[in-house]
Symmetry: C2
Subunit: 157 residues, 2 copies
């Protein structure tokens, strides 16, 4: 493998590792266990999981690889705080989580190193010319850290 | 910038972003504030910070860029649970944190893309030939997620 392919492999491996950890953690919880708060007065597990699912879903248009699959999750898990709106069932969340991650996984294997360092869709060609770090690769690394950030919290429940 | 340099830049940017967030969060706390627990019965902030410092210090030999600067932190923050050993003062921790991060930062700017995808020191040349993903780049991405993991917890305090 060349340098580019090895670097891409490392970033994809770390993304997958965080996804697998989240999958193992949240996917094994019962509906009741998902109601647990990570700490007194803090978010419930189901809210963190829904939040991560909505953020992953938003990666599809942001990386220019597809349409949103579950835009309805935003109002519950991104724009509203925990408890303000009724959350879907654990089964529905799990189905959305798996569907979105499968879609991302399929797209990630198609993208070339050159595609990865190309701009994401929330930056204009003009701005990207001045700020070339606003690329897909940067987004994926940031989202990997975001997953880890909330997993660290979830593990406290 | 070519593909390799752009990919390296993205990973270094995300590492620095997590370091800056941790610096801002922990570095602004008083000795007393650092005694807060992230949740009832869970680790104190000072323990999380010391843990991150010890892990960063261990990157120096792991990435083959230098000797440990503060190996004495391991017994307090890596091998012992929170509270088992007396922690250094906030001032001493801050000095170690800054010293170690400056050393890492200086080394990171010297390493080339080819250096980054070369093996780290805890894998033998023989094993690395079979498992080329055990490289410096992979370590740095994993440590970025590790920083985010504990920052997510720290923010709950």
């Amino acid at each position: 493998m060349g340098v580019e392919a090895t670097m891409l492999d490392a970033v994809l491996r770390n993304w997958k590792q965080q996804i697998e950890r989240a999958d193992k953690f949240f996917g094994s919880k019962t509906e009741e266990q998902l109601q647990a708060h990570i700490a007194p007065g803090k978010n419930r597990l189901i809210y963190l999981w829904g939040h991560l699912i909505a953020v992953n879903d938003a990666l599809l248009p942001l990386l220019g690889i597809g349409e949103r699959l579950h835009p309805e999750l935003d109002a519950i898990f991104l724009t509203a705080p925990d408890g303000a709106a009724e959350a879907p069932s654990a089964n529905d969340l799990k189905a959305a989580w798996q569907q979105i991650n499968a879609e991302l996984d399929a797209a990630f294997t198609r993208l070339t190193p050159a595609d990865w360092i190309d701009r994401h869709t929330s930056v204009s060609p003009e701005d990207f010319a001045k700020e070339p770090h606003r690329n897909r690769f940067n987004i994926l690394i940031g989202r990997t850290a975001h997953l880890a950030y909330h997993l660290g919290q979830a593990k406290l429940a």
